[in-house]
């Protein structure tokens, strides 16, 4: 493995995407959206919310958007180059498919993380200037977790860009996958839950006891894992109003959930390399 090859490819991905400008637009949009959520976010009160409320207001929306950005960055990165013809030239050099995959993941990952950092970072600073008692550390943790979450989707996207033999099919696949994680899986899991729990008996006072298998199933949806990880890790979110209807089980821990993310990243990255190795260019 040659680090210079990997770094050259990573650098090229960064240059290519920044020149593309849409990613800059996405960062700006993120910052604006966060500010809007923070200022107008909670009903009943107007003006700037503290960072905790801002984070819990942004978690779900941010997850949807970041997964889209990660998919956009990655879904065609390999099949796109094969289709256009630039992959032939790249592979004729002494760059291996593994090195190319690593380089692409690093480069696209850097672009994604920069987008998140710029978007949430700028918004965070603006909010911090307007509210008292800012816990910068927790906000940084929020940004960090969000980056790792983004990398999970990037890894899945990278795999998708090796599965199909056409860019257009890969786009279809990515769109389906996004709906799967954001809408289909939550509905299916809650549907399964509904067969075992009588929701009509639940009042505001009762604490909902949800079986473990439901929480286990949710580990297979990165968006659920992300929301849980934010709630568990960021103290400000736990105490804010935004904590979910279904509480997290005691056996969920930051370590476990981060571990799940890591497994997602590694498994899909490995699958991407495996598929790419076998592909005819």
């Amino acid at each position: 493995m040659q680090t210079n090859v990997i770094l050259s490819i990573a650098k090229k991905e960064i240059m290519d995407n920044i020149r593309n400008k849409w990613i800059i637009l996405v960062s700006v949009m993120f910052a604006l959206l966060t500010l809007v959520v923070s200022y107008f976010g909670s009903l009943g009160s107007s003006g700037w919310q503290n960072l905790g409320n801002t984070i819990s207001g942004m978690t779900q929306l941010g997850a949807y958007l970041i997964s889209i950005v990660a998919f956009m960055l990655g879904y065609a990165t390999i099949i796109g180059e094969i289709e256009r013809g630039s992959m032939s030239a790249l592979l004729s050099l002494s760059a291996t498919r593994f090195e190319i995959t690593v380089g692409k993941f690093l480069g696209l990952g850097a672009v994604l993380c920069l987008t998140i950092l710029a978007g949430y970072g700028v918004a965070g600073l603006v909010i911090a200037l307007n509210v008292a008692n800012v816990n910068y550390l927790e906000y940084l943790a929020f940004i960090g977790i969000t980056m790792i979450f983004g990398l999970v989707f990037l890894s899945v996207a990278l795999f998708f860009s090796t599965v199909f033999s056409k860019r257009s099919t890969a786009l279809g696949g990515a769109i389906f996958l996004w709906f799967l994680f954001t809408i289909i899986l939550p509905i299916v899991f809650v549907g399964l839950l509904a067969t075992t729990i009588d929701f009509t008996e639940i009042t505001m006072q009762t604490t909902l006891v949800v079986p473990d298998w439901y929480h286990f199933l949710n580990l297979f949806n990165p968006i659920s894992v992300y929301t849980a990880l934010i709630t568990i890790t960021i103290g400000a979110v736990q105490s804010s109003t935004g904590a979910g209807l279904i509480p997290n089980p005691s056996w969920y821990s930051s370590g476990l959930l981060l571990g799940v993310f890591l497994v997602w990243i590694i498994v899909f990255f490995a699958l991407a390399v495996w598929r790419f190795q076998r592909k005819d260019i």
Binding site: N4, V5, S8, I9, K11, K12, M15, D16, R19, N20, R84, G85, S86, S88, A89, L91, S92, L93, S94, A95, T96, R278, D280, I281
Partner: protein, 353 residues
């Protein structure tokens, strides 16, 4: 004797050296004339120590796409320093063969070595020797020509100066700072040639390099190929247009419907097919005496007359005798033209259904 690539410490040109592992070799850099001593590296994985004069060796290559046999048991070898033309009509299997040589597509079976190194098992090592121009040349459209080349240069360990120089040399001068997305097809093609020869690789593989080029571009590419040959580069070039290859190739391989039907020099091929030169002689006044004198000569296949012109097809060795016979029979010769059998003829013979 195994060969190995070394870099000149002064000008960073890649030089091929050959010798026994561990042997010390005195060398003068062809680029900057710097003298130096290089040690041939000890054994390198995957190298067959027997490799010597063969640059590319393909044995029993088979590639099938969903039951369609694109390349069927093709074997050939390209000698170091020669220009090898790989000819065949569209869809014959040229690109598939080339992609297999580079292990871009995985062959179903067969062995391919570059300078004696197995491409399938030691691709990284083998590809260090190759400069490649794909049939479909493509770059990163958001980046400029120079940024694109510099990216490849980083991986090939070539310098940015060389990139600038090559852009100039291929007639793209001012366009270096332009985004490749704004390039015309011809410009992209030239940049593709620059990318292939970047880092002066000892072996060039060019897949239809003149496709989509204007006549000036075609000449430029041909000159570049000849220039690289002078430097000792081995060149493997595919084409379905014969005229552009005929003059420059040392040897050709002809592929049709996935099968290699011939592999030889142009001359050798026409001999094998018994293709004969055609002589066109114009005389003062045609007479049956002249016509008969030629017709009765041994080794003359056919004689046609049009007015005062004779079209004669005969053995190459009979040319002088034919002229003499015409003259002796009283024909006053005005003009003589001789046309050697062309690759076109060879090609047509081999690829006709």
């Amino acid at each position: 004797m195994p060969t190995q690539l070394v870099k000149c410490p002064t000008c960073k040109t890649t030089i091929t050296i050959s010798g026994e592992p561990g042997e010390k070799i005195n060398l003068t850099c062809p680029q900057c004339n710097q003298k130096g001593v290089f040690t041939v590296p000890k054994d390198i994985n995957g190298r067959t120590m027997a490799s010597s004069s063969t640059a590319i060796d393909v044995k029993g290559l088979i590639k099938t796409y969903n039951h369609f046999s694109a390349v069927n048991n093709v074997s050939f070898s390209v000698k170091k320093g020669e220009i090898f033309g790989f000819l065949g009509p569209n869809g014959a299997g040229k690109t598939t063969t080339i992609k297999s040589i580079l292990d871009l597509t995985h062959a179903d079976s067969g062995t391919i070595t570059i300078n004696g190194i197995n491409v399938q098992t030691h691709g990284k090592e083998a590809k260090k020797y190759i400069g490649y121009m794909p049939e479909k040349v493509s770059f990163y459209d958001n980046l400029t020509a120079l940024q694109n080349l510099s990216f490849y240069a980083e991986i090939k360990h070539a310098s940015k100066e060389e990139c600038i120089h090559l852009i100039e040399e291929l007639g793209l001068g001012d366009a270096g700072k332009k985004r490749v997305g704004k390039f015309s097809k011809g410009m992209v093609q030239r940049l593709g040639m620059a990318r292939a020869i970047l880092g002066s690789p000892p072996i060039l593989i060019l897949d239809e390099p003149s496709g989509g080029l204007d006549p000036r571009g075609v000449v430029l590419i041909r000159d570049k190929i000849l220039e690289m040959k002078k430097k000792g580069t081995t060149i493997f070039v595919s084409s379905h247009i014969l005229s552009e290859i005929q003059e420059i190739c040392d040897r050709v391989g002809i592929i049709n419907k996935g099968v290699l039907v011939a592999q030889d020099t142009v001359e050798g091929l026409s001999k094998k097919l018994n293709l004969k030169p055609q002589i066109t002689v114009t005389i003062d006044a045609m007479s049956t005496k002249v016509e008969n004198a030629v017709k009765t000569l041994p080794g003359v296949d056919s004689v046609k007359t049009h007015g005062n012109t004779l079209e004669i097809i005969c053995d190459g060795a009979m040319k002088a005798k034919v002229i003499l016979a015409i003259s002796t029979a009283g024909g006053n010769i005005q003009n003589i033209q001789s046309k050697e059998p062309s690759l076109e003829d060879v090609f047509m013979r081999y690829t006709e259904a």
